[in-house]
């Protein structure tokens, strides 16, 4: 690759970990780019970012980025992130997760992290399917869609994650798709800057599993369908439920301010005992 | 020497605190060894309350009370339930306001139990004006009757065990209880 064509985000990557494991046509690459662009736009210090993830394709992203990264157990990223952020609230903690990781096995942690309004930025990559394990339906799989565990079509109603998290108390929640990168970048930037729980759901294509199981064989076909089904929240607010069936509503679902969790923890120490929460105390013998 | 004490009564009478004060007095201020245990089961919610203390000159290995040398009963239900564990020639201290020793007369006679009546609830109400310090009145009576802890140690233990600002009332309650048995 010539100098001029080198991806401008390459300095942020662990080059010794490449090539990555993502399939051709996967949305993860575009989302990594969107995240790094948003981080630059937010004028964040990359060296101060710590990433946490669970299990799944999306949770592999932090492993390719050259920052401290904690690749944890399935569904539990937010609980690890809660400990990390509380122990050192000066860190900018970003969580990469997916629909199965965040909403199925980790659903309880998701709503409680939102309830606490802990200052984490969560990028939830929603491909409506379990990719890592080979195409099983997830809690966001549309009704009627196919997966290896739904050979006759999914009978369950999907979660609407951005709305769920907003209802649980997040101060920032938004949904975009991989065909609206500019909006996505802006939302991630806003999420990074929001001093509270920020949740950015990205509807994305998984051509390998969702596409193959649902007669959408190419990434472009998936992108086209996604684009055709997208409705902006402002328009969706005026539509009837029947009209919204099968649509992906994009936009912001929460953008507000309230007390943040780690600030509250620190406040108790400061206000009641005149003592700031210690950072890196494990390295000290005298406390 | 190992002395096993069981204090029992209703929930809310401060039975547990009375036991803690005995244990604290012995171990922190009398130079003895002590272990305090209590029941945590459903019986500890509402109804009955039971607290046990083992006090010894030497290390207390087995920490539980099996057959008490001293039984302190602040409710009739507890008196009837626990009298049967009391050792022969043991000491029974009851609050006559909340118990009736007539109900356990046979056991007392058969096992040669020494019975002391300490009207802790009445004393707390009449002399201190606070029914809730009946437990501390009882600690005073136990101290005087059994000598299992010293008066000085008991006062020090009360001072560090009761809520700040209530020390004086509680010491008065202790003194009133101590005087009951004189």
């Amino acid at each position: 690759m010539s100098e001029g064509k080198q991806n401008r985000f390459l300095p942020y990557l662990r080059e010794d970990r490449l090539p990555h494991i993502f399939c051709p046509g996967c949305g993860n690459g575009a989302i990594i780019n969107a995240f790094l662009a948003a981080m630059e736009k937010a004028e964040m210090d990359f060296d101060n970012i710590a990433m946490v993830s669970g299990i799944g394709c999306s949770s592999r992203i932090p492993g390719y980025l050259n920052c401290d990264s904690l690749h944890t157990t399935h569904g539990r990223a937010l609980s690890f992130a809660t400990g990390l952020k509380t122990a050192n609230k000066d860190l900018d903690v970003v969580v990469f997760t997916g629909d199965g990781d965040a909403a199925s096995i980790g659903g309880n942690h998701l709503i409680h992290a939102a309830r606490r309004n802990i200052n984490l930025t969560v990028i939830c990559i929603n491909n409506n399917i379990y990719g890592m394990t080979g195409g099983q339906i997830s809690p966001t799989s549309p009704k009627g869609s196919f997966g290896t565990t739904a050979p006759y079509g999914n009978q369950d109603a999907p979660f609407k994650l951005a709305e769920l998290v907003a209802a649980a108390g997040a101060t920032y929640s938004a949904r975009w798709t991989t065909v609206q990168i500019e909006n996505l970048v802006t939302s991630i930037k806003d999420g990074l800057k929001n001093p509270g729980f920020s949740f950015i759901e990205v509807a994305t294509q998984c051509p390998t599993y969702f596409g193959r199981k649902n007669k959408l064989k190419t990434p472009t076909a998936m992108a086209a369908v996604m684009k055709a089904n997208t409705v902006f929240k402002s328009a969706a607010d005026r539509m009837r439920p029947k009209e919204l069936e099968g649509k992906i509503v994009v936009g912001e679902f929460a953008n507000t301010q309230r007390d943040e969790f780690t600030e509250n923890v620190d406040k108790i120490s400061v206000e009641k005992f005149g003592k700031r929460t210690l950072i890196n105390s494990a390295y000290e013998t005298e406390l | 020497m190992r002395t096993e004490i069981r204090i029992c009564g209703f929930g809310g009478q401060g039975i547990i605190l009375a036991g803690i004060i005995l244990g604290k007095s012995a171990s922190l201020f009398d130079g003895k060894e002590a272990v305090q245990t209590q029941s945590y089961g459903p019986e500890a919610r509402g109804g009955a309350s039971k607290c046990e203390v083992v006090i010894s000159d030497t290390k207390v290995d087995y920490p539980k009370v099996q057959s008490p040398d001293i039984l302190v009963a602040m409710s009739n239900e507890a008196l009837i339930k626990y009298i049967v564990d009391l050792k022969d020639n043991g000491t029974l201290i009851v609050d006559p306001g909340t118990t009736d020793v007539e109900d356990v007369k046979d056991y007392i006679e058969e096992h040669n139990i020494k019975v002391y009546e300490a009207p802790a609830t009445k004393t707390a109400t009449d002399e201190i004006g606070l029914k809730i310090v009946a437990n501390i009145v009882m600690v005073g009576a136990i101290t005087k009757i059994t000598g299992v802890i010293s008066k000085e140690a008991a006062i020090k233990a009360i001072e560090v065990s009761v809520p700040a600002g209530t020390e004086e009332k509680n010491i008065s309650a202790f003194e009133a209880g101590y005087a009951l048995a004189e």
């Binding site: 539990r76 690890f80 809660t82 400990g83 509380t86 005992f273 950072i279 | 002590a34 945590y40 087995y62």
Partner: protein, 372 residues
């Protein structure tokens, strides 16, 4: 100057944690361990520490691992049902070599069983509860003082070997009150920050097995994963040698240091016909029984059930004909003892139901076996 307190075991544990430098606690209410959380909720803010009540025990285990990488000594406390829920993340802590302390105040089990009664039914869960091969360290206190001391020791061992350490208490020790003496010169093992260098490997295969651990934010940009990883921390899940080398090292760093970690206390074992073996609260009954009997009976108190003190048990039972394991389950450490003293008659006095075995029950068992 040393200070004296007459407090509950669970309070002593919390006090020990703070003395050891614990500045992060995450937990979920569960009897009979709740007083540990309640005490730390009150005390941690006074010393610049954080207390978080999580949504469940799974999250509690996750949060303390996150906090540990965030640079804090971190602990949780729970009982049987909670320990069951934590197991996957505990396995993650072994794999990622994260120092944490897990306190288990054991109660009647399995399932919810007897929340307010004592048992020692989780001993094998501390050993094998998470999937796969690993070598845990566990300490069992027999007094309120030891609950304080062993909690400190647990933090020190966790830092020294970069492992999760269990404090396997029980309802008796958790709830009873006794005097503890708190010395003012408590030995604390601080975490060691690595030197900044290009060839720093966070999971290096070094001889004693324990590499210095940086905190997130220190600038090392490390990757921590539960997947099989190389010395850099990078996943390498399909190379048999990588897995073998990693897991061997994770086990060896504890096994090769058994002589430093294992601890027992014993009396009268040299010329005893019968040796009693116990740990945790039942030790109290065992000591009382040994003091009462006029037969040639000695006892071994195991301070560290894991790693199992094989050598010490073998040596101390060398002259005995019979060994009785006294524990509050239907036989857990019994099988470990039986495994290492194959040539003796190993008996079990396993008491369940929630009450501490009485000295009389132990004396009866001694009579039943005979001895001189």
């Amino acid at each position: 100057m040393a200070e004296e307190f007459f407090i509950q075991g669970n309070e002593a544990c919390a006090k020990g944690a703070i003395a050891a430098g614990c500045r992060f606690f995450a937990g979920y209410p569960i009897t009979p361990s709740t007083e540990v959380a309640e005490t730390l909720a009150r005390e941690l803010p006074k010393v610049g520490g954080s207390f978080v009540q999580m949504e469940d025990e799974i999250a509690s285990a996750g949060a303390i691992i996150g906090a540990s990488w965030g640079g804090a000594k971190a602990m949780t406390a729970t009982s049987g049902p909670g320990i069951s829920l934590m197991q996957e993340n505990i396995g993650y802590a072994f794999m990622s070599e994260t120092p944490i302390v897990i306190v288990d105040v054991q109660r009647g089990s399995p399932s919810t069983a007897q929340p307010t009664m004592a048992a020692q039914g989780d001993m094998m869960q501390a050993r094998w509860g998470s999937h796969g091969d690993y070598e845990p360290i566990a300490l069992s206190p027999s007094s309120v003082q030891e609950f304080f001391d062993f909690t400190i020791k647990a933090f020190n061992l966790a830092e020294q070997y970069r492992v999760p350490v269990f404090v396997m208490a029980d309802e008796v020790i958790g709830h009873m009150r006794e005097k503890i003496i708190v010395d003012d010169d408590i030995e604390i093992v601080a975490r060691v920050r690595p030197e900044k260098s290009d060839d720093y490997l966070p999971f290096e295969n070094i001889e004693n097995g324990t590499t210095p651990m940086p905190a997130f934010g220190d600038g090392f940009n490390i990757h921590v994963t539960g997947l099989t990883h190389d010395e850099r921390g990078y996943p390498d899940t399909n190379t048999p040698e990588t897995h073998d080398k990693l897991i061997q090292r994770i086990c060896d760093k504890v096994l090769n240091n058994r002589d430093k970690i294992c601890s027992v206390r014993s009396e009268n074992c040299d010329d005893a016909d019968i040796v009693l073996v116990s740990y945790g609260a039942p030790v109290r009954s065992v000591v009382e029984a040994v003091n009462k009997t006029d037969k040639k009976v000695g006892y071994i108190k195991i301070d560290t059930p894991w790693p199992f003190p094989e050598e010490q048990i073998k040596e101390l039972t060398a002259n005995a004909s019979d060994v009785i394991v006294v524990e509050m389950n239907l036989g857990q450490m019994y099988y470990e003892v039986d495994r290492v003293v194959k040539d003796k008659n190993v008996h079990l006095l396993g008491v369940i139901g929630g009450l501490l075995p009485t000295p009389d029950e132990i004396l009866e068992k001694i009579d039943e076996i005979g001895g001189n």
